[in-house]
């Protein structure tokens, strides 16, 4: 870890003029964003709006057609960004390595980077699994877990890195309401404890308005609005209002 800029603080992220298309279909149509260090920034929007693609650009998994993503002013596509900053991403599917046990998955980063002695890694793994409400599952394989448990293991794997930038792709999907609250609390705790910058892509309005410092609404590859939760709620834009107030009620039977 000595090679990292090992400060216990988050990193600032800037997205400049980001454009990306797949098979001729433009998914991101010029995204500009500034996310402050230590901020919890939520990206909301309808399915297919480009949220996950934007998130992947932020950690260098996708190469933009145009524009760039900067972490502390350094292009994320450039060399050594991953060596300088501790970044983590929680995938929507969990993306656990199926050939490894839960314990090996959670401790993978520490083992591969030789950050700690094996006994200490085991302790950290247990501690992080406890934190997400999973006990005694270290020796189980991912295919023996439910979707929600996989998600929590993935979050524990991200927490082990003690990241400066943590990207969550739909962290509460497939979770029961109690687990969703635990995850939301952990996003807040991590932010308080190490001032990590968190970028959360979600459809979950409770999560978004509960944890966000600022919210961005994205629609058809463009940012429609960026503001505090109160500003977003008060904004009259029809796309925004439709998204945050969408509701369904069963019709009451007429007598």
């Amino acid at each position: 870890m000595s090679t990292k800029e090992s400060t216990d603080r988050g990193v600032a992220v800037e997205v400049r003029g980001l454009r990306k298309s797949f098979n001729g279909q433009m998914v991101l149509k010029g995204i500009d964003l500034k996310i402050a260090a230590g901020e919890i920034f939520v990206i909301m929007g309808p399915s297919g709006a480009g949220k996950s693609v934007l998130l992947k650009h932020m950690i260098g998994l996708e190469t933009p057609d145009q524009g760039e993503v900067l972490i502390e002013g350094i292009p994320v596509q450039g060399a050594h960004v991953m060596d300088r900053f501790r970044l983590a991403m929680i995938f929507q599917s969990g993306a656990l390595l199926n050939s490894l046990t839960v314990g090996e998955n959670v401790g993978l980063y520490l083992r591969e980077h030789r950050s700690k002695p094996p006994r200490e890694i085991d302790l950290i793994v247990r501690e992080k699994l406890d934190l997400v409400g999973l006990k005694g599952v270290e020796d189980r394989y991912p295919n023996e877990l439910s979707g929600g448990m996989k998600k929590r293991v993935a979050i524990a794997r991200g927490l082990v890195i003690e990241p400066q930038l943590l990207l969550y792709d739909e962290p509460t999907s497939e979770l029961d309401p109690i687990s969703a609250v635990t995850i939301a609390e952990e996003i807040l705790n991590l932010n308080r404890r190490i001032h990590a910058t968190s970028v959360v892509v979600t459809h979950d309005r409770d999560l978004a308005f509960g944890v966000a410092d600022r919210i961005a609404i994205i629609d058809e590859g463009k940012i429609v609005l960026v503001g505090s939760p109160d500003e977003v709620k008060a904004n009259p834009n029809s796309v925004v209002q439709r998204f945050i107030t969408a509701d369904f009620r069963k019709e009451k039977p007429t007598l």
């Binding site: 992947k56 260098g60 993978l108 591969e112 980077h113």
Partner: protein
Amino acid sequence: MFQNIGEMMLLLWLTIKAIPSAWRQKRKILEQLFEIGNASLLMACILSLFIGGVIALQSGPVLRTRGLVSALGGLVGLSICKELAPVMMAILISGRIGSSMTAEIGSMAVYQEIDALKTMNINPVRYLVVPRMIAICISLPVLVMFSILVAWLGGALVAAFNREIGVSMESFFNNLRNVVEVRDVVNGLIKSFVFAVVIGIVACHQGLQTIGGPRGIGRSVTKAVVNSLVLILILDYFLTRFLLYFDK
């Protein structure tokens, strides 16, 4: 095709560069060695026994009618160690191990496990490709060595027990010893090493390139096996030409 070859050469270069840190993956290397070597040994022995036997069966009666049956041991010995054992084992390992490598890495690519490795700053080439390449490059030549010995035995058994051939095992092996030199066996082992590199790189490259779910995995596996078979047979010719210079 040419783009693929360029990408495979690049992957080979990245793999070679990552080899110095391979000791950190020793557990994975051992797992792969077990998977490739141990699991393929029985199949390799059966295949080799019958290949040796059929060469003796085909050529023995012809040699006998021309009064050359005493040369059968040398003929079977040379053709097995220089050509048949390396090529047959490469085909077996390509179908059995190359395909499973592609499927495993391909499913990791499709289900974002490789993306997860990248986000943890873990180099997928070092973590996934290097252990497999080292294991296949060790185990294929060892399997070929086994295959040569078993095929010779198969040839000798057929030569001894087939009435139309009637060459005792002793005279079969005497002639084989007179004709086959150590460098002929080394020749086969060099070929098998090159084939191992081809199978490993093609399989890992196709796995890493996989997109599009289970159908994509199936497509990658087929492509990996077909491409490595084509490359093995083409390279076999050029390697033979190259190695013939050292026979003179």
